[in-house]
Symmetry: D2
Subunit: 271 residues, 4 copies
Amino acid sequence: MPETPSHPRSPAADPRPPVRAGEPLRVTIWNEYLHEVESDVVRAVYPDGIHMALKRALEERLPALVRTATLREPDHGLAQDVLDTTDVLLWWGHKAHGEVRDDVAERVHHAVLAGMGLVVLHSGHYSKPFTRLMGTHASLTWREADEKERLWNLQPGHPMLEGVPAFVELPQEEMYGERFDVPDPDELLMISWFQGGEVFRSLMTWRRGHGRVVYFRPGHETYPTYHDPNVQRIVANAAAYAAARLRRDDAASPNVAAHEPVPNPGKDPIL
Amino acid sequence: MPETPSHPRSPAADPRPPVRAGEPLRVTIWNEYLHEVESDVVRAVYPDGIHMALKRALEERLPALVRTATLREPDHGLAQDVLDTTDVLLWWGHKAHGEVRDDVAERVHHAVLAGMGLVVLHSGHYSKPFTRLMGTHASLTWREADEKERLWNLQPGHPMLEGVPAFVELPQEEMYGERFDVPDPDELLMISWFQGGEVFRSLMTWRRGHGRVVYFRPGHETYPTYHDPNVQRIVANAAAYAAARLRRDDAASPNVAAHEPVPNPGKDPIL
Amino acid sequence: MPETPSHPRSPAADPRPPVRAGEPLRVTIWNEYLHEVESDVVRAVYPDGIHMALKRALEERLPALVRTATLREPDHGLAQDVLDTTDVLLWWGHKAHGEVRDDVAERVHHAVLAGMGLVVLHSGHYSKPFTRLMGTHASLTWREADEKERLWNLQPGHPMLEGVPAFVELPQEEMYGERFDVPDPDELLMISWFQGGEVFRSLMTWRRGHGRVVYFRPGHETYPTYHDPNVQRIVANAAAYAAARLRRDDAASPNVAAHEPVPNPGKDPIL
Amino acid sequence: MPETPSHPRSPAADPRPPVRAGEPLRVTIWNEYLHEVESDVVRAVYPDGIHMALKRALEERLPALVRTATLREPDHGLAQDVLDTTDVLLWWGHKAHGEVRDDVAERVHHAVLAGMGLVVLHSGHYSKPFTRLMGTHASLTWREADEKERLWNLQPGHPMLEGVPAFVELPQEEMYGERFDVPDPDELLMISWFQGGEVFRSLMTWRRGHGRVVYFRPGHETYPTYHDPNVQRIVANAAAYAAARLRRDDAASPNVAAHEPVPNPGKDPIL
């Protein structure tokens, strides 16, 4: 009969309260914010930037404290203390993925592994944080032809699709087509039909570390997609769903003592 | 009624034959090959290196052409043409993950996305190719105490477990314990029980790009694990299962023409 | 250019409010309730039945209205109106699975597909509702030997594991061992280590229809498992997590009109 | 230090050879075979039945011994010894699912759990074997309007899509639309675009017990779908992929002895 080492039956429950216990959600919206500055067409759709349109949409729909951050700010607006106080980060980028500093991309990547939620929007599929979290190219096919997109709701009972009808129709959007080079998702929630003949997995989630990553396809800068009520609802639901419930850095691999008798408990490993 | 563009009903079948059609499997075994050189204890177990023990095991069990590569060779033995002619790569590393050049790690990473199989062994969980493919820390708990490991077979009908009994027992192994910081696998095939009280997901697969990644836990350098017939069988099955069936670089996102009529087929996108 | 049929861009949002909007959770605990009546040993552990121990535990931990139902009641206590007003059903059964009427089992099965949550406990793995939802035998290996069980927490950031430490230790439990014949779960959250050498996937979830099914392993009737604070916490978290967010019967396959022009919209199908 | 019970380090490898070792695949094609008898339109497309068209397609493409079975035969052509000698069963049914005897449906269900592959075609989504294996309604939306279907290939490196181009176009098919009420698949391999505006997950796999289940959407009886070379290729690949690698009935839950010392190895359980 083994002699059981004397230790408590279970470790103490983690004393840290859950991140969001009754508090408003702390959201940070990151936007590249170049198209809106450089193009009259885009500025006409989003006069103060995609981030501000999303900020208003979230504030209307969630008990949330919403901040914004953009590429041209110092540290791209994403200093460590910003991430440390962010429950969920939204990411919109397109033409300047390469300008995002590697150390900031890594900071975001590691914040997600430590529990921060990340909602990646549209052309953010090629962003550094997303591709590093996926481990794939995240390539796809695309076309801009003012065509119709219809997003089908595969899981009406899922929290991210609360209040969302059987499908959402957008009269004009950029097309993204399969094959989308990402890992199989933990959850596939919407599939898009495009007028020009393609399909796309448009709402997906992946757990990475302690964090939840969401990808939501629509949102090309020349169309008023983020003014659509259903799109706003899905983005708000996604922010609430992905928000951190735990923040803990588990990068290290600790050498641990045995819970039960082992042959050689004090052995010196060869390193 | 829409006017259908005139194009073939389906594209031509890909004319490239499947990679492995009736040919022997082309396996490359990568080993760090430092412990065996530096430590008498390890050399006693694997006199000519872990890679050579694995090479013999695979050659006995598979119609395979097996090459080896090690850290100290130029390009770590992994020049582009080696990867281009490798159907599946095995990876064993431990103490010198940081010495693997970033460009070689990326070369391996991209070869997997293009279809090459990758079987990561034991302490290779912390290697650059594996962590880049997973997008996580791949951290875990560990202990070296000469303890027993028993690996339970969850899917006896899976090709990787063909001929493998209900469990495999290893009298002495290093312990790896949960939480193992990896994405949920596509397939969970074995779970380890350890004498000291931990459990571990020990045989898992993930598709990344066109490639298949396998992780198989056992194989600490001070124990004769790779001489065990069941372990050899699983490694051989894993090599055959993960081997490339397609080699194609899909890093790019092409702009494509519509298959059906769209409102504005010649539109100039804002870039 | 296709002529678009005139219909709204998206259907109206489902006007039904989410099931649980700010209301207490409506929980029904089903217990076979035979062992506690027939055996002094079991009654000493659960004097008024496992269902009453669980009821008290849930009421302490959740804003919930908790009812109970047992095998010997008319309709096993599960009349249609009970299910219709149940957000999540807990199920404990062991020796009399065969006595559960087929029509009641089907009623439970269909309630889950329509959105009701189901938390299956311990020997409930062999119950009619669970095996019908899984489509498999749900077989396993077992042993009653007063041995230790240690459940490892694989996802501390998951809502079901909020407040739960890295592992939970139960000094005496019945052993359940792999291979557990169930479909691969959507989420694998805990794995058990047993003193006698086995492992088991002990906390898993599957979506079926609009409903969420949870299986949680511990809870043999001769041990005080449901008095353990961590076990109570996990059961309470599971009830909250699995609770219905939507109730809708989607058994039928409607013939639907096209959203876009099709060649033969009024065609009479051969039936 | 625990005293280890004296038993072999691992059980003997299963002596039974893998089912298919070098032998031709044993395929049985089940067809309801009513439409072809009753309707001139259908008979014009499949003069000797869908099963015979599929039989010829498989024989051309695989080293396979192909048998057929139909509803009106005794036991629907599916006596136990037929299933016992079938590596993979194809299933086409539509209007007479209710006529399939419950005991035969259960025989098929249990054969799959014991390892037999099952490829369910088109309207077979509502068949007894499929719905029992899924545990869901398997409902969907549908329309027969002679519309175009384009199936997108999500995993060109998967064995079931070997030789299949980026998409497959069928000029006329019945439409099946989401939401398809099935469990999340283990693998999602093709998604259909329909001319009328819907999408559908058209090629999926699920492991159930030791068996592999495949669902492949196209194949309405009034269209020449099974004469399409790409469709034939996918069906043939699916048959090879799903074929049994193990045949073993694991319906029972054995009481097992401990591998390691336990407190009370001879305990009499309360039953």
